[in-house]
């Protein structure tokens, strides 16, 4: 890893090599224990030509209550050059009661490069009965391949102003999970076969679809964290091994 510029509370580990030989692993650490109203986290990740990296967040991202009406902001900007590969292991974003959070992730990559990205949004500290008690959460995730915008997923939740349980909304789900895959080999994947093998029961609903330009999206809606997270990690690993 040629360059690391960092400022507390964010810190990136040195590159570790305990997986496949050509694959670096970098941990992202957030030493403050969570974001407090008005905090801002900016991350810029550049994956150079033919570089291969797996990035792992050390823990879930906790968003504390907004006592001063200010929102927390997180912006992640990613650039993946030709024939490079980035895996971003899924971690959970937990907005506490009264939290205001605005996160955006913008990925710019080439059609020769590979991306496997996972993320999970929790309703709050569910086990404490804190379910959709946050003030607002806006998440914008976008992927550009060869300068063409192929996906923009914007979710904007204000629990007090919307009926999240309504038919067509989240219904009985509380956890929102996503996997984004881009690979020059994505066309070889049998998405129908993958869909048929996905866990779909009364607590987890999952669907897979093809986007433009060799990209695939998987959406997970889960009533409980454990089942959904386990299935999301299984599907993430399957993509990682097959692509």
């Amino acid at each position: 890893m040629p360059f690391v510029f960092q400022q507390p509370p964010l810190k990136a580990s040195r590159a570790l090599y305990d997986g496949p030989k050509d694959r670096a692993i970098v941990y992202i650490m957030e030493s403050s224990g969570g974001m407090v109203a008005g905090d801002r986290n900016d991350m810029t990740i550049s994956v150079g030509h033919e570089a291969k990296v797996t990035m792992i967040q050390q823990s879930a991202l906790k968003i504390y209550p907004s006592q001063n009406d200010k929102q927390c902001v997180q912006e992640i900007t990613v650039d993946i050059e030709d024939n490079a590969r980035l895996e971003w292991m899924p971690e959970v974003v937990i907005p506490f009661s009264d939290a205001r959070f605005n996160m955006s992730t913008a990925i710019d990559m080439r059609s020769t490069s590979t991306l496997i990205w996972g993320e999970i949004i929790a309703p709050g500290r569910e086990k404490r009965g804190e379910i959709f008690d946050f003030e607002s959460l806006r998440s914008t995730f976008s992927i550009r391949i060869d300068d063409q915008l192929i996906a923009q997923d914007s979710i904007s939740i204000q629990p007090a102003e919307m009926n999240l349980q309504a038919l067509g909304m989240l219904e009985n789900a509380q956890y929102i999970g996503s996997i984004w895959v881009v690979s020059p080999n994505a066309h070889k994947l049998d998405v129908r076969g993958i869909q048929e093998n996905l866990l779909n029961n009364s607590t987890v609903r999952i669907a897979i679809t093809r986007l433009e330009s060799n990209a695939i999206h998987c959406r997970f809606l889960g009533a409980e964290q454990w089942d959904m997270q386990e299935e999301l990690k299984r599907v993430f690993t399957m993509f990682s091994e097959q692509l």
């Binding site: 806006r138 976008s142 063409q148 915008l149 192929i150 996906a151 923009q152 997923d153 914007s154 979710i155 904007s156 939740i157 919307m162 309504a166 038919l167 067509g168 909304m169 989240l170 219904e171 789900a173 929102i176 129908r192 869909q195 048929e196 609903r205 999952i206 669907a207 897979i208 679809t209 093809r210 986007l211 433009e212 999206h217 959406r219 809606l221």
Partner: protein, 246 residues
């Protein structure tokens, strides 16, 4: 949702609607018989029907409200308005980026393809009706693959060129879309015609309220919270037997 004022609840209060051939043409392009193939799409509703999750009038209404307020309003409606404004200043580059955005926010493959197919069919149908060279310019753009030709964008362009009122345009668009969903539900669940009529009547206030809300929205507000509908739209392509294309 706010309580409607009594005068706006009176549907005979049409004094502020200037009925002329322009308005009639706006109605014509949103008629369910206008040949753009809208009736062949359920936008994920068929998955709900096959999973027996849409069996009552109440469920139909709830589905339509979610689709209207959390998918259409913050998606295609914003894009129609932005395309309308971009057309007024003849900004072709802006229209191309709106067309790209329109495809990018439709994550479900079938809904994305439906938007392109309906858009192309709309373009073929209205081209002979419109002499404005800007529409031909956009058609050339789509033919040369500089744009996909999404319905929301070409509708915004056409309505601006015809100088339709923008609020009326998005109101008619939302009305015709939920009407299409209801008619598809009537045929496929099935429901009685009266259920369909009553459901649409109950949604009229929601449509007018959504059209008012739309006036304050810009491209920065684009979002989709109807995640269960989106997920069902993604699953639709794997259903074993289907009446609808999406």
């Amino acid at each position: 949702m706010k309580q409607q004022k009594s005068d706006s609840n009176n549907r005979l209060n049409t004094a502020d609607i200037h009925i002329n051939s322009t308005f009639l043409h706006l109605m014509q392009i949103h008629d369910s018989a206008f040949p753009i193939g809208n009736y062949t799409h359920s936008y994920g509703m068929e998955t709900f029907i096959q999973e027996n999750r849409l069996q009552t009038k109440e469920e139909l209404l709830e589905f339509c409200k979610t689709f209207l307020m959390h998918n259409l309003l913050y998606g295609d409606v914003i894009l129609i308005q932005e395309a309308y404004r971009a057309t007024n200043i003849r900004d072709l580059n802006k229209l191309q980026s709106l067309d790209e955005l329109c495809g990018a926010i439709k994550l479900a493959k079938e809904s994305r393809e439906a938007s392109v197919n309906v858009g192309k069919q709309f373009m073929r149908t209205v081209l002979p009706l419109c002499a404005d060279p800007f529409l031909t310019k956009w058609h050339t753009c789509v033919k040369s693959r500089k744009a996909k030709g999404h319905y929301a964008v070409v509708l915004g362009i056409y309505c601006a060129l015809n100088e339709f009122d923008m609020e009326m345009t998005v109101m008619m668009y939302m009305y015709s879309t939920v009407n299409g969903l209801i008619q598809n539900a009537v045929r496929s669940v099935p429901f009685g015609q009266n259920t369909g009529v009553q459901s649409l009547y109950e949604l009229l206030d929601w449509v007018t309220e959504a059209a008012k809300m739309a006036q304050k929205l810009t491209v920065d507000d684009v979002s989709n919270n109807a995640l269960s509908i989106e997920l069902s739209s993604m699953k639709h392509e794997y259903l074993h037997s289907r009446l609808f294309i999406s």
